[in-house]
């Protein structure tokens, strides 16, 4: 059986720029695909093409077996979209926004009303439900927009950077909502700039850069590639480096790297917290008081470092040239 979301060889150019350069992706039913990439990688372009808003120059794509290019109307019936920028109506209240979307999915008046209230509650917007969206904060708009994508409880959902601009609590709340939808069988494609988020939510991750997939796999596979967590230790002076390196070798899973300029010692670890405790104990016993010690989780930047040999920043400067 073909996957719920299936795309092959999508190309989209803007003049000289190849926003998407032969992207393939496949999301099996009931799973989450995380599209991970820096600014300008082509994430939004991919989402817009898959949700019928944009036509690619070439490539073939289906959602639940329906050809997106030939039958966009049929695809719209089974998808929900929350774009990168909250597309909510400022002059309507939160309730009116959701009710309108329900009506446009051709729900009955009653259904649309009940669904709107249900979602407002789910996204903790009930208190603000009867206020025009103009008075909402950025995070509230974002949440309302995400609620908009869920109105028809569509089997396939696309979310473009769903947690950008949310405070930590709302972000966790959003993760909950997403996990709950997926448990109920929804297929989800989400884009993000945070490896941590893709790790939390996605069954599979595609890392894209310049419109092309540069890595692909489960979060674990990807983290293995990047090297997982790392213990980072900064010391007061040169004298302590040798002893500290020996201790770090003991708690880590590999050879520690030493930077004698900055008096830093790094070592890869399997599980950050226990390694941290062990290291602190031993350092204390040896009479070493570090300036700083921390567990470093791999970020998108580390992924890029490892996969392309340049960081995400480099890419932007390269683009500006």
């Amino acid at each position: 059986m073909t996957a719920t979301i299936q795309a092959e060889g999508i190309v989209k150019t803007y003049g000289q720029l190849r926003a998407l350069d032969g992207l393939d992706l496949s999301v099996p039913e009931g799973t989450v695909l995380g599209l991970l990439g820096p600014n300008g990688a082509g994430k939004t372009t991919a989402v817009r093409i898959l949700t019928t808003l944009l036509r690619p120059d070439s490539g073939s794509l289906t959602v639940k077996g329906i050809d997106v290019l030939k039958h966009p109307d049929d695809v719209r019936r089974i998808i929900g979209l929350s774009g990168q920028y909250a597309a909510v109506d400022e002059y309507l209240t939160g309730y009116e926004n959701l009710e309108m979307i329900g009506r446009l999915y051709h729900m009955s008046k009653r259904q649309a009303r009940e669904r709107a209230n249900e979602l407002l509650e789910r996204f903790t917007l009930t208190d603000a439900a009867s206020r025009p969206v103009k008075t909402y904060s950025g995070g509230m708009r974002r949440r309302l927009d995400l609620a908009g994508a869920l109105v028809a409880a569509p089997p396939v959902i696309f979310m473009d950077e769903p947690t950008t601009g949310l405070d930590p609590r709302s972000r966790l709340g959003m993760w909950d909502v997403i996990t709950e939808r997926v448990r109920e069988g929804t297929t989800l494609l989400l884009t993000t700039q945070y490896l941590e988020e893709a790790d939390q939510l996605a069954d599979n991750i595609i890392v894209i850069d310049h419109g092309r997939a540069i890595a692909e796999g489960t979060p674990d596979e990807l983290k293995r590639k990047v090297g997982g967590e790392r213990l980072e230790l900064t010391l007061r002076g040169e004298a302590e480096v040798a002893t500290a390196a020996a201790i770090m070798r003991g708690v880590g899973t590999g050879e520690p790297t030493v930077d004698s300029e900055t008096h830093q010692v790094h070592v890869p670890v399997t599980r950050g917290a226990p390694a941290l405790i062990a290291a602190i104990r031993e350092l204390d016993a040896a009479g070493i008081e570090p300036v700083d010690i921390a567990v470093h989780r791999p970020t998108l930047d580390d992924v890029f470092m490892r996969l392309t040999g340049h960081s995400t920043e480099d890419k932007t400067t390269e683009e500006q040239k």
Partner: protein
Amino acid sequence: MNPVVMALSDGWVVAKRNLIKIKRIPDLLIFSTIQPIMFVLLFAYVFGGAIPTQGVDYKEYLMAGIFTQTVAFGAAITAIGLAEDLQKGTIDRFRSLPMSRAAVLIGRTTSDLLNNVLVVAVMSICGLIVGWRIHNGFFKAIAGFLLLLAFAYAMSWVSALIGLSVKSVEVAQSAGFIWMFPLTFLSNAFIPTHTLNPFLRAVADWNPISSIVLAIRDLWGNAGTMPRPEGFPGEHPLLLSLLWIAGILLVFVPLSIRKYRQAASR
């Protein structure tokens, strides 16, 4: 669902949304009625005596012109509204929903039509106060108003195409208006066309604005014994008006809907 029923019912959902905006920002409505009131008063009292009319009071002669010009200019709000929806991403959201492809435009032109109904009502009251009267009875009076609103609706679709093409509210604000100046002033709205040179006169006589204005003047008994255009435009202004309205709709409804489908796929 039947596509026509779906277009109308989705269109009504969108129209309601637009009307809510008018309700929430009443200033919009206040200003869109102040301008026509000003026009009625200025033309009635400032220009009133300057242009000689025969068999009819200038204020009466003028009123159909002011009404028509006002709804023509008012069509610009369609362009501005759509450009705003495009810019804010609202149209993207609509385009991802399984709603009719015509609904956003039907909704927008419908709410703008209702806005026009109100503007025309306010202008009529204002006109009655300064001395304008209708002489041909109730049904012809209503027929005149219907013709005016039908023309307003057709112009709204022209404006829709402009709004979808410019993609920025600021550009829509001027692009929506500019072409109205030659269209409304090179017509019989404020001056009898026989004073123009032969070329301009031919243009003015065949101008759709002139046909609408003359047809309404005839219906309301406000035409007096003023000189009329030669030939068809002078003999059958009502027929010509209806042809113009039908022609504008036939061309601009499909063009605008096509543009809407492409608009967000930049």
